[in-house]
């Protein structure tokens, strides 16, 4: 019975995916992609990965969708909609892609037995650290180096986005997020929602130690609240040269690296925690990371500087 529900879900997902690729209008394609992101987060629930479901809904559907929608608005007057090439090219590409799909499906249908799993290794690690959410244990203790590098990638990505500003605008404000004609409804939402949203963001970060949730999910909710206030025109984006902003961007990765280095003389090596302080250290790192993620995600949606810095 539940397999029927899964089958239906798969059909919905494939419909959204085909629509994403074949829609004539680029805005239709983006909307289909956002719908796909929400459907995928339901799939992650079915696969019992609640942390991933939250991340997919917040980042995969939400934040990515916002970036793509903004790009559509900027491209609308400038770039004509592209058309797919002729039928012969479509058939050739279709055959190639079908081949790739069939090969991948064969991998799925002939799985390795027994299925490889690192779950026992994580379980052994969990008692040392004292957290109850296995995914957080992997992110911040068992494979902390991966998470640290990923934070560095985020900062580098932001530097990459900023570097695309014309020389004249370096250090100025990004293009305004404000809606062209701010509506009363949006302003109302931007006044009512942020207190609740910030509370939920903090809750997700705090709760992430023992239950589904964590820095990414909480940080994204915080970023969304910030962006909502900007879109309603209740606040302005800061200049990208503002020192306070840059400190917020750096505080998470910097604290993570400092804790990692401290591991050399407080514990066994880089990024290893002394067992008796493991939990408070991890929670402190998570809080700093969530702040940095919120600011970085918000600034990435905002894009490079588009105005001259004020004197």
């Amino acid at each position: 019975m539940s397999l029927v529900v899964d089958l239906f879900m798969v059909l919905l997902i494939l419909t959204s995916a085909v629509w994403t690729v074949l829609a004539r209008d680029r805005r239709d394609a983006v909307i289909a992609f956002i719908v796909l992101g929400l459907q995928l987060s339901l799939v992650w629930m079915r696969l019992m990965a609640v942390d991933v479901a939250l991340t997919e809904a917040a980042v995969g559907g939400g934040a990515t969708g916002l970036v793509l929608l903004r790009a559509c608005a900027r491209l609308q007057p400038v770039e004509a909609e592209g058309r797919l090439p002729g039928l012969r090219a479509q058939i050739a590409a279709g055959l190639l892609c079908a081949g790739v799909g069939v090969a991948l499906a064969a991998v799925i249908l002939a799985p390795a037995a027994p299925a490889p799993s690192l779950a026992p290794a994580v379980a052994a690690h969990m008692d040392e650290v004292g957290l109850k959410n296995p995914v957080t244990v992997v992110l911040l203790a068992y494979r902390a180096l991966d998470t640290l590098l990923e934070k560095v990638v985020l900062v580098l990505g932001l530097i990459g986005v900023w570097a695309l500003a014309p020389d004249l605008f370096w250090g100025g404000r990004p293009a305004s997020l404000r809606a062209a004609s701010p509506s009363g409804t949006l302003t109302f939402l931007a006044r009512v929602l942020p207190p609740v949203g910030v509370l939920i963001g903090v809750y997700l970060v705090w709760n992430g130690a023992d239950h589904p949730g964590g820095t990414f999910q909480g940080g994204t909710v915080l970023a969304a609240m910030w962006l909502l206030v900007m879109m309603a025109g209740l606040g302005e984006l800061p200049e990208t040269r503002a020192l306070r902003l840059r400190r917020l961007v750096a505080v998470g990765p910097a604290l993570f690296i400092a804790v990692g280095l401290a591991g050399f003389w407080m514990a066994d090596g880089f990024l290893s925690y002394p067992p008796e302080y493991a939990k408070p250290i991890i929670v402190a790192v998570e809080v700093a990371l969530a702040l940095s993620i919120a600011v970085i995600l918000g600034l990435m949606v905002a894009g490079p500087a588009a105005k001259e810095p004020e004197r």
Partner: protein, 96 residues
């Protein structure tokens, strides 16, 4: 007592699902943006409201019950605002 609660859950969740079904049919069949939005808000408000109501007796403690109600309230707020924004956009002649 528990039979009564079970019955309550079944009736409330089923009627919630009915509103979701009706909302979806309306969304697919109604002629223009505003009427389609109207159909969707029914699914959001009443459908989700009834499902949350039906699930309340199942909550192990007061906090999770409050969380369910908070989810319903937030969906109300989000849904109502999004409908307003889409309707404004449609009335200005956006979309098709």
């Amino acid at each position: 007592m528990s039979l009564l609660l079970d019955l309550f859950t079944i009736v409330a969740v089923s009627s919630g699902l009915f509103f979701f079904l009706a909302g979806t049919v309306g969304f697919l069949r109604f002629p223009d943006t505003l009427t389609r939005l109207h159909a969707l808000t029914k699914a959001d408000n009443l459908g989700l409201g009834l499902i949350v109501l039906g699930l309340l007796p199942r909550c192990p403690d007061l906090v999770s019950a409050l969380k369910l109600v908070a989810i319903w309230a937030l969906v109300q707020l989000g849904g109502a605002t999004a409908s307003q924004l889409i309707a404004e956009f449609a009335r200005r002649g956006g979309g098709r």
